[in-house]
């Protein structure tokens, strides 16, 4: 999940469970919550009359204060450790930051210079294009294979659930281990993938996946598809399980064949699930870092570099923190748009 989902399971993180839960029990949970607010009266505020301190303590022990304490610490922590860095990132993208000014907050402001410099660099556009290819290629692969597997395992047979779960090992493995394994599989002279492709008559000469600029990005995409397929499959399985069986029975009585049933029932019923999974795939794919570090390091000559790796490289290889921050700000804006789409598609489901 690790990986990320991510990163697997590293850097991987999904609100999907929650969404599915809501899907399952939205009506009942809403009604029970309404029941609660009235029943909660006896436990609510001021029961004894004391000084302000006593009242505060008793509220923390036995009233609204309890909820506020529970929620204030984590939200405060998240604000300090995720919200502030986010703002700090924006601030740095307008400043000149070098190793000497690292320790101070008030560095010289340079306006939009960092952004202008960024787009004046020759490698910027190719890297953005790589990111787009990486995202589209990974999501398409993960989704199509995942959907195929989910449809297959949807046919219930003994052992289906267990075998399906086994696929998730790719997701719990550390991203760097996945990267190391694929690095070896994709090796040019001795890689087993080249051997299999040669034996299968698909290629005649070895492909140098990691060092040929024409293939290096696809090497990482291949590994990322492997990493994310299982996760897509599990979530799609959940969506499939939610389609009422009587729809299919009715269609079968009407004489619809399997192909027609897929296009007229399965796909339309899965629309919001699919939307959410693709948005989630976008979010995960943009978090993928470990595979780049383990397989190509963005090379050769940036041919497999993507923005999330590039931003890190600028900060921690070139020590140009301002540039790293600038790239991050641009990408974070993009990720946030994706996540708004995702959250909206889950909201829609709850209300609808």
């Amino acid at each position: 999940m690790p990986h990320s989902p991510s990163s697997g399971p590293t850097g991987h993180l999904l609100p999907a469970g929650e969404r599915l839960n809501r899907m399952a029990d939205a009506p009942s949970s809403i009604s029970s919550r309404k029941g609660l607010s009235s029943a909660q009266a006896p436990g609510s505020p001021v029961r004894d009359v004391g000084g302000p301190v006593t009242r505060l303590l008793s509220s923390v022990r036995d009233g609204r204060g309890f909820d506020i304490v529970l929620v204030a610490f984590p939200l405060g922590f998240l604000f300090l450790m995720a919200g502030l860095p986010l703002l700090y990132n924006v601030l740095m993208s307008f400043q000149e930051v070098d190793m000497f000014s690292l320790g101070t907050l008030m560095r010289p402001f340079v306006g939009l210079k960092n952004y202008r410099d960024l787009f004046a660099q020759p490698e910027t556009l190719p890297i953005l294009a790589n990111t787009a290819i990486f995202v589209v290629g990974s999501i398409a692969g993960q989704f199509l294979i995942g959907f195929g597997l989910a449809l297959f395992f949807w046919v219930n047979f003994p052992g289906a659930a267990w075998l399906r779960g086994l696929f998730l090992v790719s997701w719990v493995m550390p991203g760097l281990v996945v990267g190391a394994i694929w690095n070896w599989i994709l090796s040019g002279d001795f890689g087993v993938l080249n051997f299999i492709l040669r034996e299968g008559g698909i290629i005649s000469a070895n492909i140098f996946w990691r060092s040929d600029p024409n293939y290096s990005l696809y090497a990482v995409i291949l590994a990322n598809i492997w990493l994310g397929t299982a996760f897509n499959m599990i979530l799609l399985s959940v969506g499939l399980a939610g389609i009422p069986a009587d729809l299919y029975e009715a269609a079968e009585l009407d004489g619809a064949n399997a192909w027609q049933r897929f296009w007229t029932i399965t796909l339309p019923m899965m629309r919001s699930t699919i939307g959410a999974i693709i948005a989630l795939g976008l979010i995960f794919t943009l978090q993928q870092f470990d595979l780049f570090a383990a397989i190509t390091s963005g090379g050769p000559n940036n041919s497999s570099n993507v923005t999330q790796y590039w931003a890190w490289e600028q900060s921690f290889r070139q020590y140009d923190f301002a540039k790293g921050a600038t790239i991050s700000v641009l990408m974070i804006v993009f990720v946030m748009i994706a996540s708004v789409v995702y959250v909206r598609s889950t909201r829609h489901e709850v209300r609808g």
């Binding site: 289906a160 659930a161 550390p174 890190w312």
Partner: protein, 275 residues
């Protein structure tokens, strides 16, 4: 075709597909057992002719894996404890009420969990260096991971709390329990399994974490196994059997936990939607 025959055929196809999918994992285990010359043989052997079990001991000793894994363990445990202590209460409150504030809180939490770590590390690193946190690099990484993974944990645990019948808590309140008492004696025990599974997921993630550790921890004595694996893989390495042995030692405990708890983890992940 009869029902049983159909089931057998489906099972067979499923096993073949699982085998193809899990081939990279198999290749890791097999390569680790091959000798230095056998792993470069063409055509490659799909079963080691003479399994080299001593590779494991050699890699463990020469790479100092005990120290790396200990650091991974410290970081992952620290992150899990911090996340659990902070996240459980938050998830409980977000599950218990349904109003506009809860919606806003949830929205913010969902937004925070999508921020890529490799983009957030720049401001976190600079900020931590200004605060002097880089003198305690493992603690700094624990805090950074906690901020990154807590939203995920909250979302999962919230789903668990929503499955706990509110009537039980109400009954405890009517019986004279305080909110604190009802929370610790009624609600928490009922949600224990869900919390445990979510904590294990977080642990597995944190155990493999790379970006933060790589950027923040410079001292090799304090680096976790993911960073160790990264420095083991130089650009022109040819020690693939040793690297795969390292990977095997690193990943097998995680895989063991996963296979043992597979059902729970998968259903925790999908919040009971797959029966």
């Amino acid at each position: 075709m009869t029902e049983t025959n159909r089931n057998r055929l489906m099972l067979l196809i499923a096993i073949v597909m699982a085998a193809i999918y899990l081939f990279p994992l198999y290749w890791m285990y097999i390569t680790a057992l091959k000798s230095g010359s056998e792993m470069f043989a063409t055509p490659p052997t799909f079963w080691p002719s003479v399994p080299q079990w001593s590779t494991y001991a050699f890699v463990w000793e020469s790479r100092g894996m005990g120290r790396y894994l200990w650091n991974s363990l410290v970081i992952a445990s620290g992150a899990v404890v911090l996340i659990t202590v902070l996240g459980v209460g938050c998830a409980y409150v977000l599950a218990r009420y349904r109003n506009v504030w809860v919606d806003i809180g949830l929205f913010l939490i969902l937004m925070l969990q999508v921020l890529p770590a490799s983009l957030m590390i720049t401001p976190i690193f600079v900020g931590f260096s200004q605060l002097g946190m880089l003198d305690y690099p493992r603690l700094a990484v624990i805090i950074a991971i906690a901020a990154k993974s807590m939203p995920f944990f909250v979302v999962l645990v919230r789903a668990t709390f929503m499955a706990v019948p509110m009537e039980l808590e109400e009954a405890a309140l009517v019986d004279g329990n305080s909110r604190v008492g009802a929370f610790f004696h009624i609600v928490l025990p009922l949600a224990r399994n869900g919390i445990l599974v979510s904590a294990i997921l977080i642990f597995m993630q944190a155990f493999g974490e790379f970006v933060y550790s790589k950027s923040i921890i410079q001292d090799i004595e304090l680096q976790p196994a993911s960073v160790g694996l990264n420095s083991f893989m130089g650009p022109n390495t040819n020690e693939w059997n040793n690297i795969m042995a390292y990977a095997t030692i690193y990943v097998t405990p995680i895989l063991a936990i996963f296979v043992l708890l597979q059902r729970r983890i998968v259903s925790g992940l999908t919040s009971g939607a797959i029966k």
